[in-house]
Symmetry: C2
Subunit: 468 residues, 2 copies
């Protein structure tokens, strides 16, 4: 092999490239952080990092995150005082944090969230970012100050980030402005696009391949149709991923019917907003017709089951979505927990609870890991597709982003090649994650992040400030 000096190679016991397992195979990557090839161990010359008792897998892509919401973890699991708690009473508690965070606080909270992602094998995050302004609603001198703070947090941890810049224009159809949303709201699509374009150019110049932008009209509640159309047109022109909360709550559906006499997806389909670059986040309360429309357009759905169970949103109909051929991704969303493998298993498990049936999402393939492979795809290539990234598989030319699992961890010990992926998806715990590498650069080693102690200390200080 030429120019050995510039190549790095890793040799685990087992390597999953996104399709199948390889024995005695090294992952070779170039100085630019891309995979050169998967090579038999005996053919590697030069430096090779051995990873004994470890399995190596493509890094996971977390397609939906609100990083700052980590500050309310554990603070909403009690009665709010309302007669019945729901997503909406939770949202009030979330807003009470929103209005108090400084740019530095947002950086510290985001870094904490991204640290947890890194430790769990996530290498890329899609951050659905809706905090733009100062608490009083005035833009900062740099309108993208907060977006940049979040991007910096991801880069400082070592994650790649797709900053999905959120468009938020109103509290809802025929709803009075909500002062708690002052940090989200920009005055019209034109201003939004102008601010987004500034950020897009900045990220493209400063962080090519490590940070990029997508756009995200928050929901049909928060944007009217003309704005949705303008933003979709901008996204298409710039080839940006377009994310949007869709069908998370029944109330959203009702409001959309009132305003547009159409269901949300119906409205998006009719206005040409659905495309392979479009991801509907949640997609819980969907009609058959809406599923057909999403499938016809090649649009994606991002499920966030650990958050959806925490918020009482409901169960995503993953069976109907898979049957329609829709690509699914996963997101840790509110960060009640950060564990995409738990999200992956819940896609299936929540349907088991609903149907009193097993292996609901399993393909006909009788291999013990066939269902697990389908679910793991959601955490990898499904996510990559959703956020506009060419990772999620380990193949020549693709980013060298991966994590390793300790094969002696008690949660998966004793696995054989045919059930290893099933054990990883259905049974592994976070402590089984050992090394995490992004673009050939180590981010987590032996289960610990290099600046973990500092991140935790700063976050602890932040939480004391916020809540005592």
């Amino acid at each position: 092999m030429d120019s050995e000096q510039t190549l790095s190679a890793w040799l685990p016991d087992l390597l999953y490239d996104g399709k199948r397992w390889h024995y005695d195979t090294a992952l070779v990557c170039d100085a630019g952080g891309r995979v050169v090839d998967l090579v038999p161990a005996t053919e590697v010359s030069g430096m090779m990092i051995r990873l004994p008792n470890q399995a190596l897998l493509p890094g996971m892509v977390n397609a939906h995150s609100h990083a700052f919401q980590r500050v309310i973890r554990g603070r909403t699991e009690h009665r709010s005082g309302a007669s019945r708690d729901s997503f909406w009473t939770w949202r009030e508690m979330m807003y009470s944090a929103v209005t108090r965070l400084t740019p530095e606080d947002i950086y510290d909270a985001s870094r904490m969230t991204f640290l947890e992602m890194a430790l769990s094998g996530i290498t890329t995050v899609g951050e659905f970012h809706y905090l733009h302004h100062a608490p009083d609603g005035r833009p900062y001198d740099d309108v993208n100050l907060l977006a940049k703070a979040v991007v910096q947090a991801a880069l400082d941890v070592g994650l790649r980030i797709a900053l999905m810049r959120v468009a938020y224009f109103r509290a809802g159809y025929q709803q009075a402005p909500d002062p708690q949303q002052a940090r989200f709201i920009e005055t019209g699509a034109e201003r939004f696009i102008q601010n987004a374009e500034t950020l897009r150019l900045n990220l493209g110049r400063e962080q090519p391949g490590r940070a990029w932008m997508g756009v995200a009209p928050h929901s049909v509640r928060a944007a009217g149709l003309p704005e949705l159309r303008s933003i979709a047109e901008y996204a298409a022109r710039r080839e940006l991923p377009l994310h949007m909360h869709v069908a998370e709550q029944p109330a959203e559906l009702e409001a959309c019917l009132s305003e547009h006499s159409r269901t949300p997806v119906d409205l998006l389909a009719e206005n040409g907003i659905l495309s392979p670059s479009f991801t509907g986040v949640h997609g819980i309360h969907l009609t058959e017709r809406e599923i057909e429309q999403l499938a016809f357009a090649g649009a994606n759905i991002c499920a966030c089951p650990t958050t959806e169970r925490n918020l009482g949103d409901g169960i995503i109909p993953a069976d109907r979505l898979f049957a329609a051929g829709i690509s699914l991704s996963l997101g840790s969303d509110s960060h009640a927990q950060i564990d995409l493998l738990e999200d992956a298993r819940e896609l299936e498990y929540h349907l088991r609870l609903q149907r009193l049936e097993r292996n609901v999402l399993a393909p006909a393939d009788p291999s013990p890991s066939a269902l697990a492979a389908r679910l793991f795809d959601c955490a990898t290539i499904g996510g990559a597709r959703s956020v506009g990234f060419d990772g999620g598989v380990l193949a020549p030319g693709r980013p060298a982003d991966f994590f390793t699992i300790d094969l002696k961890d008690p949660s998966i010990a004793g696995s054989s090649l045919d059930d290893l992926l099933a054990n990883i998806v259905f049974g592994s715990v976070r402590s089984s994650v050992r090394d995490v590498v992004v673009g050939g650069q180590p981010m987590v080693a032996a289960g610990t992040h290099q600046v973990q102690a500092d991140i935790v200390d700063r976050f602890t200080t932040l939480q004391k400030k916020l809540w005592s």
Copy 2:
């Protein structure tokens, strides 16, 4: 304090006694492994083990386990070939392992399962043990050989064990014998009681306080009414806990109605089998009348949500059970995962998914940890009550069984005193568990068990033998 030499003291940053948190407080225990008192740190003389950055909590009690089922983890998450997979197709796969395990295999599998429990903060297990005979159905020379292998595995790991000796007499009402059940079946209640009594005396003599016996008619499927009555009478005479699978599957309910013209709990209530020593395991498909009957008798329910979601059993109506004042415990059952805190949160989360509502099980108390405390009680004092054990709280005279949590673990970092328990129950990951102590003796230190490598190696060898 007198006789300092014989006392041990632990000083964590925070100590939860089962009711509230204490600062600067040491847990002092005697040479017999019992709590002497909770003492202000400044008043402890003599040796004190400092546990900086750790919170100390009562050890968890896993009230329902089938330890050997660990061997099929990850091997049933795919289509069985039946048109529709369910608990029953899973059972066939489980039976295919049952028929092949030697006594040594059962020891190795059990030790692996108990190791995982230890690492997750469980200090006592209720093992619902139904493997009695050789694969051909013949009793071993010692009829309790396999029960003793399981007990030995628990003791070698360091766990306390309540061996719930299972009574299994038939495949079901008007069902032909199933040769795959040959290892479970004993010929009649008299023989069962004789064998059980031998085991009870043996454990009482050999392992007082570390291993004890309960009895467990498997289900209304596996035992007829006269046998149920005999065993319940025996349990009452010897003051033994009495466990039984109840209302796990709709088919069980139908069979019971056919045979007895009564629902399972109705039958048990009418025949005086319910009592405060009785635990119905699962309790998913219960009528209002059955819940009233359980409550009236002071009987317990053990929920196993991670298994119930894996098996597609359904959602336990924990809201109705709490409202009736029934004591709930938790079990890891089939060991699809071993994480009682995940079980605890699912008690609540599955109801949120069903109801599209939050904080369903929360008491009116507005403290951020009120719901978490209720769920944590299920994993501690609820379990202790169910298996006939005086642990689950840290108070003078009680067993010194506890685990510690690393307060800097990224999953719970930044918690304050009022939301710490909520973060532990709703968000913590297993890697946050540091030290686990049973009867004053360390079992897990700094997240690792002393003989972990050996246990994992032997289990790996077993799995190769079984599945390759």
